[in-house]
Amino acid sequence: MNEDVLIAYCLGLLNEDERAAIARDIERHPQAAAFVRQTLDSCTALILDLPPVRVPDYAKDELVGRIRQQLQAAPTQSQPRYPHSGEAPDTPHAEQTSAHPVPTPIPQVAATPDAGVADVETTFAVYDVTPRRQTRHPLVLVGQSIIIAGLVLAGVWWGFLRPLRQELAIGQLLEQTTRQAGAVTYPLLTPAGATLGDSLGVSLGVMVRTGDGELLFVLREPPPDGQVYHVWQRRAGDTQSLGTASARAFFVRRQTTLGSTLLLTLEPADTPSAATNPIASVTL
């Protein structure tokens, strides 16, 4: 078999008909299969020799959110094709068109504030999306109390479970928001001009503007103790506060204007400030 054609196949240079023909030949000719494998290994070496680009931490949350969304959309259960690592398949060419097993669904994040948060932050219209307790029926509260008591007894577990649940929920929320009609995702840019594109690791996070003009911020880190994130909108020389948040992920329930610039500052929780030293800015 012509090696140049096999190389073209490995590089992805053939059209659909050519690929199908080569694939059939490869199944019939072990030497051709070996040649293709070796060529692909060499291509892999070349790609893995590229200088790696750091991927932002929030991307993991987003990935988990996308996967869980798929799991919920495809609730069929099946076993994987190869039950154990390194175990040979009984029928190597048999196809399987199944989804992964469905894990226990993760509770949805409340995208609206609970009473406590609203009292404090309604004036700013910035809401912490970290899951919190909500007002419930007394019997439900009793049940919750029992659960909470159990969690207190298992304090070590609580220390692991809550952050995990929050991270998964944030990823899910980000995924849902980015998929809304009219939603636009913006990398958070520092004023110096460093962008997500310059290095996938230097970004502070991501902001999604919904079709309604509301904003979802997902930052890599929560603000340090005693500090809050403060969101500002600047348009026509006028700078307006949109509110503060103490979590790394939060909604801004105010309509923003295309053409305006959004500024993000980090400041002491109890000291009002001006948008003089933004850590990130986005022009809509």
């Binding site: 293709v36 494998r37 070496a45 893995l48 790696p52 680009v53 991927v55 987003e62 994987p80």
Partner: protein, 202 residues
């Protein structure tokens, strides 16, 4: 739990819907997938979304992969290349079922990690740091001109004819250059530098 599981172990766990295993593979490979995406795409958001989509595809297809037949690194990286190339060329992602092909001289591939026979290459495993050094050494086997040609084909989908035009060289020279440079690269990977494909297959 294994502290530094092999790529094959992680992929087997992904096949069982283990999210932590997927995230571990993501940590190992996403920086290289992102590097490739940055070479192939312009828009930062496209780059980010592509990397995410590739790992969703990996999640979906993990149950179909037999790691005895193909190294995880080769399967994953080439799947990513196909995904990105489809975007660059504006075509559907091709079916690429090489995970089903066996390599005929290989009979000891029960574990893809570190059990290469003398003349066989078992693929990279990100769990084995020493392989990175080996990989870097192998990559030095290529001249800048050879590397440029290969990268144009891999990352931009340039046909042989387009490569000939881009390099101002005859078509035959281009195909020969690609063939010999890939052979040399594979020779370094297997510790048989300088041998041709025919030599290594014999």
């Amino acid at each position: 739990m294994e502290t530094n599981p092999s790529d094959a172990t992680l992929l087997a766990r992904v096949a069982h819907a283990d999210e932590a295993a997927l995230l571990e593979l993501y940590e190992r490979y996403a920086p290289f997938v992102a590097a490739m995406a940055r070479r192939m795409l312009q828009d930062p958001d496209d780059i980010h979304q592509s990397v995410q989509s590739i790992f969703v595809t990996i999640w979906q297809r993990a149950p179909h992969v037999d790691t005895r037949r193909v190294p995880v690194s080769t399967w994953l990286v080439m799947l990513a290349q196909r995904h990105l190339l489809a975007q660059v060329l504006g075509r559907p992602m091709e079916t690429f079922a090489f995970e089903n092909w066996d390599i005929p001289t290989s009979n000891t591939r029960g574990n893809t990690r570190g059990n290469a026979t003398e003349n066989a290459f078992s693929g990279f495993d990100m769990a084995d740091e020493s392989q990175h050094k080996h990989l870097k050494q192998a990559a030095t086997a290529l001249s800048s001109e050879e590397r440029e040609l290969l990268e144009l084909a891999l990352f931009q989908g340039c046909s042989y004819r387009e490569l000939a035009q881009a390099s101002s060289k005859p078509l035959r020279t281009v195909t020969t250059t690609l063939r010999t440079s890939l052979a040399r690269l594979h020779g370094y990977l297997t510790g048989q530098a300088g041998q041709s494909w025919q030599d290594s297959d014999a």
